[in-house]
Amino acid sequence: MSKDIRIKKGLDIKLVGVAEKTTTQSSLSSVYAIKPEDFHGITPKLIAREGAKVKAGEALFHSKSDERILFPSPVSGTITEVIRGERRKVLTVKIAADTQQDYKDFGVKDASKMSGEEVKNHLFTAGCWPFIKQRPYDVVANPNQAPKAIFISAYASAPLAADLDYTLAGKEVELQAAITAISKLTSGKVHISVGAKSNSPFEKLSGIELHKVSGPHPSGNVGTQIAKIDPINKGEVVWVVTPQDLVIMGELLLTGKFNATRVVALTGSRFEKPQYVTAIIGAQVSQFTSGNLNTDNTRIISGNVLSGTKIKETGFLRYYDNQITAIPEGDDYEFFGWNKPVFDKVSTTRAFTFSWLNPNKKYDLTTNTNGEHRAFVVTGAYEAVFPLDIYPMQLLKAFMYKDLDEMEALGGYEVAPEDFALTEFICVSKQPHQKIIREGLDLMRQELG
C-alpha cells in the first residue's frame, strides 16, 4: 500500500543538459581515489600503507572512533599515494587499479536467515557500513544507536539528477536482498519514496513502506520525506541509504563481492552528449568524460548543482555521488547586471526577471553569484521553497549565533545541509546556507552528542 506525499513549496530549476537514456560502459580508469572527507565527521586511521596491494573490498582505513567501520578499496590494485594535509590529515588515498580485478570474497549470504546483529557485522566486514548515514547530523550512522526507521529516497528531484528508475532498472533482486538485510537493523519501518508517475523497481519489492511523492524539488530530498512521514524528535535517530548504494549491498549479499560499480549521469550544458556511464566509486572523472566534455572555463561538479562538490578535470567521482555535472563558470562582469531585465536566469521573484513567464524553459546557468554577500534583509522568500515545518531564517540565525537551545528547539535535529540548498539558491543576500547548517550540525554533534 502506498501513501502519497504532496509537496507544494519548492522550486524546480530546469537546466540544459539532461542525460540521455543511453549507458556507455566505461573502461576501468587507471587511478582511483578515496577521500576521507566524503565521510563527514569521520577521522580516518589508515590500515593499508603506500605500496601495499589491495583487493576490491579490502579496507583502506577505519574510523578512529569505531574500528568496526571499515572503508574499502573500490578496486583491486596498488596504493600509490597517500596525500596528507595539515597535521597529517589524510586527504586522499590513491590506488592504481589492476587490469584484472580481484575481489575479496565475503561469502554469499541469505539475508532472510540472518539476525540483525549478523547483518550489521557482515556490513562492517565488507566495508558497506559507510553507505548507511544517519539523521540528525547527516553523518555515517552510529551503529550503537538504534534507528526508529530507515528512509530511502528513490526519487531524485534535484536539477538534472540521474533518473533512478533508469539507473536501477533490472536491479530488483539486489535491491530486495539489501532491503531484507537492512530491515533487520531497525524495529521500525523501511520507508521508500518513489515518484508519483514513476515506474520504479522498488514498487515490486516486499518488506517496505512505499510512498509516492509529487511536487517540485526538494520533494525528492530524503529530508523532506522524513519530515512528512515521520519527523525526527529529540533523542531519535533515523538512517538513510541511497538506492544506488543498496544495489552494492545487495550484490555483496548475493555474490560475496564488493562491486562498487554504479550508473552515473553525465549532465550539464558543457557535455556534448549528456548521458549515462557505468563507473566505479572513486574513478577519475576524465576517464569517462574525455571527448565528451568542453573543458574551456568549465565548472565540474561531482553531484548536482545544488549540493555537489567542485572537482578538477582530473578529479574523482566522490563516494556517494551518481552524477557528474559540468556547467560554465560565470567569472565575468555584467554591465548593469543588477538592474536590467534578465531572461536567461532563474528567479522566484518577478523583479524584472522573467523565468516565471516560461516555466518549462531550460536555462544554462553559470556559477556567477549574481551579486554580493550581504546581511539577511529579505524575509518570507525562503519559506516559499522550504517545505519543512521549520522557520528557515530563524534556524539559520540560531546556527550562526550558536545558541544550542535554540538550534535544538527550532528543528536542528531534522535538517541536513542539502535541505537548505534551495534557500541558498534563491538567497538575495547570497548567504552560504549549507555551510552554516553544516557547521551548526557539527557543533550540535560535538556538544549534544
Binding site: 534578465v342 528567479s347 549549507q434
Partner: protein, 399 residues
C-alpha cells in the same frame, strides 16, 4: 582597453586597501561582479539586494513625479483657489513641475548626497561594503517631508538617521528602526514648527504667513483635527490633489506602487493588506462611538472620529506608510503569521494616534516606529508556537 578591463585592473589595485569599499561600490554599480560560487550551491538565482532595492525605487518614481507637480499645483492653487475647479487642466503644467524641480529635486539630492556620504565614510572606516539599504531610504526621505523643509535641516536629520538609525547597529539588515522614519522622527521632534501646522505643506506659505497675500495650506487631517470643513472632494483625496508631504498624497499612485511591489514579490502583501485592515477596524470603532452619541460635535475629537473609516485609508500618510514603510523587511516582523499581526497593529494604532493627537494628527510614522520595536517580540511568540508543536510531537511519540 575597455572600461570593464580598466575597472577590473583598478579593483585589483585597490584590493585590501581602505578605499576598496568605496571603489567597489562604484564598480558594482556599473558592473555586476565577476564573483563565482565556491561551496554550497554552484548556481544562484538572479536577484541580489541591489535588484530588490531597485524595484522599490522604481515603484516610488510615480509618487515622486506626482509630488513634484503637486508641489507647484498646491502653491498656485493656494494663491488662486479657482484653479481647483478644473484640476486636470491645471495640474500637469510646466509651471507646476518647475516648482517641483526647484523645491523637491534639491530634497532628493541632499538626501542621497548626505546619506550616501555617511554610508561611504562608514564603509571605509569599518571596512565593510557599501550596502544598498540607503538607495531606498534616500528616495523615501524626500517623499515624507513637507515641501518647504529647509535643506540644512534635512541634511542634519539624514546624518542622524543613518548613524543612529542604522550604522550603530551594524548597517543594512541589522537595524531595529526604519531609517527613513528615524529621519522623519528626528525632524518632527527637533524642528516641530517646521513639520506640523498649516503652513509647511505648501511651498512659500511660511514666508507669506501674516502678510496680506498669505496663503493657506492646511492638510485634510489638520482641518479635521480642528473640526473644520474640508474643501477637497473624495476624488481629490484619492487622486492626491491635496496638500501633504511630497509623495504621500496620491493614494491612487501608492496603490499602483503596491500592486507593482506585490506582483514582483518584493513587498509583503500580508503587511500591506493587514495595515489597511487594522486602520479600517479602528476607523469603524470610532465611527460606532460617534454613531452611539458617546462623542458629540462639541468634542475636540469629533472631526476625526466622525471621519468615515474608508476615508481614513486615503488621507494622511497611511497608505504610504502601509505600502513603503511598514513593509521594510528588516524592521518588520519576519514570519508570515507575525506580518499579519504587525501590519494590523500598525493600522490600528495609526488611526488611534491620528484621532487622539490633534496637535499633530499624523500617527502613521509613530505607529510604525512603535511596531518596529515590537516586531521581534511578535516573531518570538510566532516561532515559539512552532517550537511547542515540535515538543508536543515528541511527547506523543514517546508516551
Amino acid at each position: 582597453m575597455s572600461l570593464k578591463q580598466n575597472l577590473h585592473n583598478l579593483k585589483e589595485k585597490y584590493k585590501g586597501t581602505k578605499m576598496a569599499p568605496a571603489f567597489n561600490a562604484i564598480h558594482t554599480f556599473l558592473y555586476m561582479p565577476n564573483e563565482v560560487t565556491h561551496g554550497g550551491t554552484h548556481i544562484k538565482a538572479a536577484d541580489d539586494l541591489k535588484r530588490t532595492m531597485n524595484m522599490v525605487i522604481i515603484s516610488l518614481i510615480p509618487c515622486l513625479l506626482f509630488g513634484m507637480f503637486n508641489a507647484g499645483y498646491q502653491h498656485y492653487a493656494a494663491i488662486d483657489p479657482s484653479l481647483r475647479d478644473n484640476v486636470l487642466a491645471n495640474f500637469f503644467t510646466f509651471d507646476n513641475l518647475w516648482i517641483g524641480i526647484i523645491k523637491v529635486l534639491p530634497l532628493v539630492i541632499v538626501s542621497y548626497g548626505v546619506g550616501l556620504g555617511v554610508e561611504f565614510i562608514f564603509a571605509i572606516i569599518k571596512g565593510h561594503e557599501v550596502e544598498e539599504g540607503y538607495l531606498v531610504t534616500g528616495m523615501l526621505v524626500p517623499l515624507i517631508v513637507p515641501v518647504d523643509t529647509p535643506l540644512w535641516m534635512l541634511a542634519v536629520a539624514v546624518v542622524f538617521g543613518v548613524v543612529i538609525g542604522k550604522e550603530v547597529f551594524g548597517g543594512t539588515g541589522m537595524n531595529i528602526l526604519n531609517p527613513a522614519l528615524t529621519i522623519r522622527a528626528f525632524l518632527f521632534f527637533a524642528y516641530p514648527t517646521w513639520m506640523s501646522g498649516d503652513k509647511v505643506w505648501v511651498y512659500d506659505a511660511v514666508n507669506r504667513a501674516g502678510t496680506a497675500d498669505a496663503i493657506s495650506g492646511e492638510t485634510i487631517l489638520g482641518s479635521y483635527a480642528q473640526n473644520q470643513e474640508v474643501i477637497y472632494s473624495n476624488w481629490d483625496k484619492f487622486m492626491g490633489f491635496i496638500p501633504g508631504s511630497v509623495g504621500e498624497t496620491s493614494t491612487f499612485l501608492i496603490l499602483l506602487g503596491a500592486a507593482f511591489l506585490i506582483f514582483t514579490k518584493i513587498g509583503s502583501w500580508r503587511i500591506i493588506v493587514s495595515t489597511f485592515l487594522g486602520a479600517a477596524v479602528m476607523g469603524m470603532i470610532f465611527n460606532q462611538v460617534v454613531a452611539a452619541d458617546i462623542i458629540t460635535s462639541s468634542s475636540k475629537f469629533y472631526g476625526l472620529m466622525s471621519t468615515a473609516w474608508w476615508e481614513h485609508l486615503m488621507i494622511g500618510g497611511l497608505a504610504f506608510g502601509a505600502v513603503y514603510m511598514a513593509t521594510d523587511p528588516v524592521t518588520a516582523s519576519q514570519t508570515n503569521k507575525g506580518k499579519w499581526i504587525y501590519g494590523f497593529l500598525i493600522g490600528f494604532i495609526s488611526i488611534m494616534i491620528r484621532v487622539f493627537n490633534p496637535a499633530y494628527p499624523e500617527g502613521v510614522f509613530l505607529a510604525i516606529l512603535l511596531m518596529n520595536v515590537f516586531a521581534p517580540t511578535i516573531d518570538h511568540y510566532v516561532v515559539q508556537g512552532n517550537v511547542k508543536n515540535r515538543l508536543k510531537r515528541a511527547k506523543v511519540k514517546t508516551a
